[in-house]
Amino acid sequence: MAHASTLEPLASPHRLTMLEGVDEGVNTCVHCGLCLSYCPTYSELGTEMDSPRGRIFLIASLAEGRIALTDSVVSHLSLCLDCRACESVCPSGVPYGRLIEAAKAEIERQRPGGPLRRLFRWVNFDLLLPRPRLLGLAASALRLYQRSGLQRLVRATGLLRLLPGTLSAWEALLPELPPWGGGTLPEHVPARGAVRARVGFVEGCVQRVVFGAHNQASVRLLARSGAEVRIPREAACCGALHAHAGERQRARALARKMIEVFERASVEAIIVNAAGCGAHMKAYGHLLRDDAVYHARAERFAAKVRDLSEYLAQRPPVGALGRLPLTVTYHDPCHLVHGQKVRVQARQLLQAVPGLQLVELKEADWCCGSAGIYNLTQPEMAGRLLERKVNHLLATGAEAVVTANPGCIIQLALGLRARGSAMKVLHLGEVLDEAYRRGGVGEG
């Protein structure tokens, strides 16, 4: 009468060898389920395979060999945003981000996907992202594409439907790029006034090309805070996108390069204004835990990493804040609030600006659907989450939404544009920089 049965253990060839170190992580989960209602995908779908507890259970079952990496298992694990909202509420302290990245790496190892998808990944992850100059070139081509009217033509003809799903998603996400010449930052920016610190600044790959203005604003703020800023040209890409997508080897290589570059720069803090990069770099120690040469160096590097808001909250820029009469709301980037537990700093900095009114956003710390390249790989779920986010944004009645991550900025702008909203999407650095500029003291 044994109706209920558990699955038989799988034969050993199916057991996952690459699920490194997940044992400890999955055993920390006591199955309490407190994470469920904070998971955006569970919230949308109501299916526990798409909840943190469920995914941990799947990963555990994979590791134990109870199940194989079937299509459905892959689909549930791939649907995870890796936003790590669950980590913020997990009483047991399950290192969820590490588990899901290990699982995604395993998926990537076992099933690298179809040829077009592979090509797309190769172009982005191997070719463009680590090579700023090439990425810049690609961006120029993109600009040409946008300005030439070709984009309109392609969109109008429905040519996109012929592209594989992820490529058409990529196209829709293209930001309206600023005209060329946003300017490259010099490798060395002196402090304004007395030198109080020497810091490094990570330009980022996407950030550098697409949002050069944010970087310039950020560096001006750092200089105002008395920091002498080093911006090493070879610091290309931190590898965060690669890690989230399961491209572990590539991610490790990029991390090692970052470590070397900033060791040479000898700085006391490494500042980054892209939340995804920051969270990833703070976890270099774990990424390189098995690397005898780099592990300790990675830990030292990680200890120096600060988000821009985190740093400025501790060392506020010198000078008067000008009046900025603007009603804004703040969207917490997942990898800042959940990945780095940086929640209050940006709000405090904004609230200090005279004339600026900060309205709290419902579900401010929920993922907007951007999630690295998630909006490319899972366009449908990304769209649902974006819709939810935009509804909340519009409900605030704010003139602008402030955030601190390039992926979020692109995603939010896209969502607002689609709804015909005039709400601006601003980087925290831009807002603060503008406020200090208006403060006007010694602006040069």
Partner: protein, 490 residues
């Protein structure tokens, strides 16, 4: 369910899809696996299908289908339960209510709301909070557990000391009966005529049907709240303070105890401000009128100091208050930091027996060579000894289960109960005879016959009626307390 043939399974799947649509049914083995447990991992059972209806009509159609096909079915909320109550003990359908999450109506003037069962408990309070109202029952899992699940278990929580449990806040239920008929029990008006079917349905652990709409009372938020932390160097003194507070004619909104093992786990988790070196702390909340609340707080403080508290302090602001509560409410989960698994007991005792029973709990657990963390509703006498163990160590699970049974025996002996809020489910079926006579159980069984004569609705729960079909640990084996002769199945 391993006994379903592939072709029957396909037929059933098509029939289910015809009701709920393709994207609302799960039947891949890997996916079903995720639903094999609830918050208690000691028991596992696989469903044949997990289905996600979005309306009362769909639930009713699914239940009718199950009746036609003779398929067992069980409703599931968030799966945060701690007794295995929502497991498909005999296979069949798991009807997940996670897509029925609407707040159908809020009537502030009459202080009530109509909600769907999948609504997360805390989300109701969030929704009505801006207007100054809240939903009082606050199980520790309220951030995730659903109101439908609360109905099944008659869930409590810290604030039930003053405000009562779920049943005290439910006015009416739209229910899909076990044969598929949709009826209303109670409604928005008080004192419905006839037997109190709402009262008997709440806490029936899903064996009387599936609630698809719930009318709940909303309360006005209190004018003032004061949260006091009393720190003790001996757990005995803390338990004496509980009686001292009650004895002084004070009825706090909540009166919780948290011991050192638990304090250390939650401090690791969230740094909530409990002193790590304390043997025990009492978290005491007073609420209501601003007038007199300071005087009450003084009386509480004095009672604690007299009982031997080394420190008594009041949360200085809402943020500190929330943090203290976060620690308390996350305690179960936080055990994950100190142990790979734990078994939470849910015995209730008369408040005055607290010092004696806590001593016995420690003796029992120590004799089994295990560790225990205590975090519980002291004011209600609702204990939660959490026995920590590692299921990978051979024999440990059996020792845990047996120690748990002994603890519940002690609770029964002092005039208490074997469950205060978690329910009997699969876990405590065999302990029912600790507190109920055959005549008591027979009466309950007759009531079940009235609702659920075919027994398809959540079978194999509550009553020690037959051999369980559920996996305990790696494979079926006799329940350890059976082996000890403490209980038997019949």
């Amino acid at each position: 369910m391993a006994t379903l043939t592939e072709s029957r399974k396909n037929t059933l799947r098509r029939a289910i899809q015809a009701i709920v649509g393709k994207s609302a049914v799960v039947s891949d083995p890997e996916e079903l696996l995720v639903y094999e447990s609830d918050g208690l991992t000691l028991f596992r059972a696989l469903a044949d299908f997990v289905v996600f209806p979005t309306s009362t009509e769909q639930v009713a159609a699914l239940v009718r289908l199950a009746n036609q096909e003779g398929l067992p079915f069980v409703a599931r909320g968030a799966g945060t339960g701690l007794s295995g109550g929502c497991l498909p003990a005999e296979g069949g359908l798991v009807i997940s209510l996670s897509r029925m999450t609407r707040i159908v109506e809020v009537d502030y003037d009459n202080q009530l709301a109509v909600v769907e069962p999948g609504l997360v408990n805390l989300h109701l309070s969030w929704a009505v909070g801006p207007r100054g109202y809240y939903y009082a029952p606050d199980p520790s899992s309220q951030q995730a557990c659903t109101i439908g699940g609360n109905i099944a278990n008659n869930s409590g929580g810290p604030h039930t000391l003053k405000y009562g449990v779920t049943t005290n806040h439910v006015l009416g239920l739209e229910v899909v009966l076990p044969d598929g008929e949709v009826v209303w029990l109670g409604g928005k008006m008080r004192d419905p005529q006839g037997y109190d079917l709402v009262g008997i349905f709440v806490g029936s652990e899903g064996t009387f049907g599936i609630a698809t709409k719930i009318v709940v009372r909303l309360l006005r938020k209190p004018q003032a709240v004061k949260t006091i932390l009393a720190v003790f160097d001996e757990i005995e003194k803390a338990s004496e303070a509980v009686s001292a507070i009650i004895g002084r004619g004070l009825v706090p909104a909540a009166l919780e105890m948290i011991d050192q093992v638990t304090i250390q786990a939650v401090e690791d988790a969230f740094g909530c401000g409990y002193p790590r070196d304390a043997a025990a702390a009492l978290l005491i909340e007073l609420d209501g009128l601003a007038a007199g609340i300071d005087a009450q707080a003084e009386r509480v403080g004095a009672a604690c100091v007299e009982a031997g508290a080394r420190e008594v302090r009041t949360a200085k602001d809402e943020a500190e208050r929330q943090l203290l509560w976060k620690g308390r409410k996350s305690a179960f989960g936080a055990y994950g930091r100190v142990s790979p698994a734990y078994l939470v007991m849910d015995g209730v005792i008369p408040r005055t027996k607290l010092p004696y029973v806590l001593r016995r709990v420690n003796e029992i657990v120590a004799a089994a060579n295990l560790r225990v963390g205590n975090v519980f509703h002291a004011g209600d006498g609702n204990l939660h000894p959490n026995i920590l163990y590692d299921p990978r160590r051979p024999g440990e699970e059996e020792r845990v289960v047996q120690a748990g049974a002994e603890i519940l025996k002690v609770c029964a002996e002092v005039g208490g109960s074997i469950s205060g809020e978690h329910g009997i489910g699969l876990e405590k079926m065999d302990y029912m005879p600790f507190i109920f006579s055959p005549a008591d159980l027979a009466t309950m069984h007759r009531v079940k016959e009235a609702f659920n004569p075919r027994g398809l609705c959540n079978p194999g729960k509550i009553f020690p009626t037959k051999k369980s079909c559920v996996e305990v640990g790696p494979a079926y084996r006799a329940h350890p307390i059976e082996e000890q002769g403490l209980a038997q199945r019949f």
